[in-house]
């Protein structure tokens, strides 16, 4: 509704110099922030769909030829949180769009600012703005508990909530020290690659290749699931659903295609490699050690990246995850990676997630309208 327009007037300062929006994959492989563009024209279509909202604009060049440009934005939920709505643009609106050109030279750009005929300026959310935006964080209080004394990892009865806003963008070995990278695990300095994990030589080479090409081959661009620890790194968060009567826990990803994993708490043995068909989320057994849920998982396939940033793994991957809730608003996540096929030794990484109270995961299906894949050219 146009009545919402004042909410859309955001600071001018988040213009061209800002980082790309959060997305389910790295956008630097698709758009070049060194090639800004300003387009003026008429809106012909506004697609309010996951994983990215698009609008299309007929733009006339100096010779009178008209080209229909596609302009990419963040996901509907990210735009909603930044004051946009599905009524923000109408077919027929005259707009001026500032953004970055696609690397592949097509009539595609990442929209960063949209100026409508009235002069109102609508800004796309940036990663910085999304991270800095006020969040409905609940009051600090102790973690809720089950009658048996274990912390509740999900919402208490009558409440809603989920975990999001991971404190780390990618798996990094705990002892590695400070390594600069963005929310998608893209290193600020490729020379830091060897510090990230104890790679075997082929795995380090592959990780560096993926970094050098700006993560263009990320399987999540094709809407494949974020298996393993990556489930706790991607936008849109995770929801934990505990079923103590059935001795199991579901964890649902807010991204991907609402993919879910199951953790058994009934003491069953882990399957051997001959017993299980490898999957994206593996086979998980969990047990409580005090206030920490310790989960061991095996049986992963090799069709996904198990972390933002493109760290490789093999079917030998075995994960030991540790979940704890030191207070109401914090989920502490730690993982030990044991994969003799890709790493020279076992190693550990950890980060935290924030509780988002009084909200539930929004419906999000990456496969609704994926348009990025052919444009992910990266750098060679």
């Amino acid at each position: 509704m146009r009545g919402c327009a004042p909410r859309l007037i955001l600071a001018l300062g988040v213009g061209l110099a800002a980082m790309p929006v959060w997305a389910h994959h790295e956008l630097a492989a698709e758009f070049d922030d060194q090639r800004p563009v300003t387009l003026k024209g008429t809106v012909t279509k506004f697609e309010w769909n996951n994983p990215h909202v698009y609008f299309f604009v007929d733009v006339q060049d100096a010779r009178g030829s008209i080209a229909n440009w596609a302009l990419e934005l963040a996901s509907p939920s990210e735009l909603n949180n930044s004051g946009w709505s599905r009524e923000s643009l109408q077919v027929g609106d005259l707009v001026t769009v500032e953004g970055n050109l696609a690397r592949d030279g097509t009539t595609l750009a990442q929209a960063k600012t949209v100026i409508v005929a009235s002069g109102q300026r609508l800004s796309a959310p940036t990663s910085e703005a999304l991270r800095a935006a006020p969040r409905p964080v609940g009051a600090s209080k102790p973690a809720p508990r089950w009658p048996d004394g274990h912390p509740r990892l999900g919402a208490a009865p009558g409440e809603t909530g989920y975990w999001a806003n991971p404190s780390a963008g990618s798996l990094v070995e705990t002892t590695a020290g400070e390594i600069g990278m963005n929310a998608n695990g893209l290193l600020a300095n490729l020379g830091d690659a060897g510090k990230v994990a104890p790679f075997q030589s082929w795995a380090k080479g592959l990780y560096e290749y993926r970094q050098r090409t700006l993560l263009k081959d990320d399987p999540m661009v094709s809407c494949l699931p974020p298996g393993g620890p990556r489930m706790f790194q991607v936008p849109h968060g995770v929801r934990v659903l505990e079923q103590p009567d059935r001795q199991r826990i579901f964890i649902t990803s807010g991204g991907g295609n609402h993919n879910w994993r199951l953790i058994y708490l009934d003491g069953r043995p882990l399957p051997t490699s001959e017993d299980v068909s490898p999957t994206y989320f593996g086979y998980s057994d969990g047990k409580w050690e005090g206030d920490t849920l310790v989960v061991t998982s095996v049986g992963f396939n090799e069709r996904f990246w198990f972390s933002n940033g493109g760290l490789p793994h093999t079917e030998n991957l075995k994960l030991t995850e540790r979940f704890s809730r030191p207070d109401f608003n914090t989920l502490r996540y730690g993982v030990t990676v044991d994969d003799s096929g890709a790493y020279t030794r076992a190693w550990t990484s950890s980060w935290t997630l924030e509780w988002i109270p009084n909200q539930d995961l929004e419906q999000y299906f990456c496969q609704d309208n994926p348009r990025d894949e052919p444009h992910m050219v990266g750098k060679q």
Partner: protein, 133 residues
């Protein structure tokens, strides 16, 4: 009618050609690779190369099946993504022949990555190209 009998076959062929390739994000050589070797412009020999990474070594076979030839040497250099394979097979006359394959992986991040290089059998060097299935 001829059209009725031909159409299902055409559809099947299209379906096979359009079949998606499964992602393989682990060791870059793992999987089945189809292609050929032979002199430039000359007769080409179809070849299937099947390889796995056992955590320490690349294990592979040329043309798995009745005439399979195991790789005796299989090396990958991740600095430049070159490969070097050696095997002891047989030539067209059935005589023992040492095979040396040298090549480079292209489109490393693609499911359909390729290896292009040379196939040397005895004293004869030919071109070689395989694509991951």
């Amino acid at each position: 009618m001829p059209g009725k009998s031909v159409l299902p076959g055409c559809l099947l062929a299209v379906a096979i050609l359009a079949a998606p390739v499964l992602a393989q994000e682990g060791h870059p050589l793992t999987g089945s690779w189809h292609g050929s070797w032979g002199p430039n412009g000359g007769p080409q020999h179809p070849v299937l190369l099947y390889m796995k990474w056992d955590s320490k070594n690349i294990v592979g076979t040329i043309n798995p099946g009745p005439n399979a030839v195991p790789l005796k040497v299989a090396k990958l250099d991740p600095e430049n993504w070159t490969v070097h394979f050696e095997a002891d097979g047989k030539d067209a006359s059935g005589n023992p022949a040492h095979i040396v394959i040298d090549g480079r992986i292209a489109n490393l991040g693609s499911y359909n990555r390729t290896i292009t290089g040379t196939w040397t059998e005895g004293a004869t060097k030919s071109e070689f190209k395989v694509t991951r299935d």
